[in-house]
């Protein structure tokens, strides 16, 4: 990397709590290397990356399926106490699903993460709200991640559940 040039931009109250800040002009090694001639076209990069990513899709979707099954098992019982594993499982599922166009599945999973986060921050626990999300995930899986009138109404229902939890 090129040696940075330092300039003090504030010694007064302009930046955070009355403390001074230093601004440094940096040219990163990434910028310099990417400025060199050569490389691939954007179109070629997108095609290559997409092809490589697709080779993982089958395994990733199997993991998503396993995650939904695990959520079902964990929410099958009384679920009297909040289970932190539910957030971990769902967010891991999102990490995988988020590489592909899984439309309503991703939205339903995100809604479940939001719900668990909201309930945790508010100290309120509603097992039914969680269960309805998990059932929706299973139904969407059955629809092969397609956005259908069925999944649209499911997502609308989940949004209402989440909104209710936020206002509670």
């Amino acid at each position: 990397m090129k040696a940075p040039v330092k300039t003090t931009i504030s010694s007064g109250t302009a930046v955070g709590e009355g403390e001074g800040a230093t601004a440094v002009k940096v040219v990163s090694s990434l910028s310099k290397k990417m400025a060199e001639p050569g490389g691939l076209t954007v179109a070629a990069i997108e095609r290559r990356s997409h092809e490589r990513l697709l080779s993982h899709k089958h395994d990733a979707m199997q993991s998503v399926e396993r995650a939904v099954s695990e959520l079902e098992q964990r929410t099958a019982g009384a679920l009297a106490e909040p289970d932190p594993e539910l957030y971990r499982i769902t967010s891991q599922m999102l990490d995988l699903a988020g590489f592909f166009d899984t439309g309503p599945l991703y939205d339903a999973g995100y809604s479940l993460c939001d719900l668990l986060d909201v309930m945790q921050s508010k100290g309120r626990w509603s097992p039914d709200a969680v269960r309805v999300h998990v059932r929706a995930l299973r139904m969407i899986l059955g629809d092969n991640f397609q956005m259908t009138p069925h999944s649209t109404s499911l997502l609308e229902g989940l949004r209402a559940v989440l909104e209710h939890a936020r206002k509670a």
Binding site: M1, P4, I9, V15, G16, E17, E19, G20, A21, T22, A23, V24, V26, S28, S29, L30, S31, K33, M34, A35, E36, P37, G38, G39, L40, T41, V42, A43, I45, E46, R47, R48, S49, H50, E51, R52, L53, S55, H56, A60, R88, T90, S91, Q92, L94, D95, L96, A97, G98, F99, D101, T102, Y106, G109, Y110, C113, D114, D117, V118, S121
Partner: protein, 196 residues
């Protein structure tokens, strides 16, 4: 993004950190498709800390929820505990779901970009290209170390169209209108009575 534009990532070393091995492999495949010859894949941020103490990299892409050291803690370490030029390494934070508690942390930890899933190779490439043209200054103060967060002040990088209606370019072009008269400027500064 012009599809015929050349992007050269052949000589860049990219460090990928993800505690989910399957997601790490997928990210690795995307980056391989970008034409990157050297990528280092690590399953934990603590392993990345050890690596960076030994050698530099050109770009870091991290999605790590490891409670021992997550993406945010790693970036804070990089920005605050290392010396130049390592501390200036561009960091893209990829995240699936960001809890309320983490949203502000994401803004304050000093990452260059937060990319929220779902992601496509095109979105990630766009962010990498943006970083290559990034002209934001690096701010160091007791409460924050990282790229200038006041993106509005700088506008989008050269050649990029801003997403906000009011985005301005950081580059001053040729004046399109005549200079204002001093009397006009004085009139703007003059205090005026306001009818409430």
């Amino acid at each position: 993004m012009n599809k015929d534009e050349q992007v050269n990532l052949e000589h860049s070393t990219v460090l990928l950190i993800d505690n989910n091995q399957q997601a790490l492999d997928m990210l690795g495949s995307v980056i391989q498709g970008f034409g990157v010859r050297e990528q280092i894949k690590l399953g934990s941020a603590t392993a990345a800390v050890k690596l960076l103490q030994e050698r530099p990299v050109d770009l870091i892409i991290i999605d790590c929820a490891d409670p021992e050291m997550d993406s945010y803690a790693f970036t804070r370490w990089l920005r605050r505990e290392t010396s130049a030029p390592l501390k200036y390494t561009p960091v893209i934070l990829v995240t699936g779901h960001a809890s309320q508690a983490k949203v502000q942390e994401g803004r304050d930890c000093g990452v260059s970009f937060v990319v929220v899933k779902p992601i496509t190779p095109a979105v990630l490439l766009k962010r990498v290209m943006w970083l290559a043209l990034d002209e934001r200054e690096f701010i160091e103060c007791p409460t924050y170390v990282g790229p200038d967060r006041r993106v509005r002040n700088y506008g989008p990088p050269m050649g990029e169209k801003g997403r906000r209606k009011g985005d301005l370019s950081a580059h001053i072009g040729i004046a399109k209108e005549a200079n204002m008269d001093q009397s006009d400027i004085d009139a703007l500064l003059k205090p005026q009575k306001v009818q409430l």
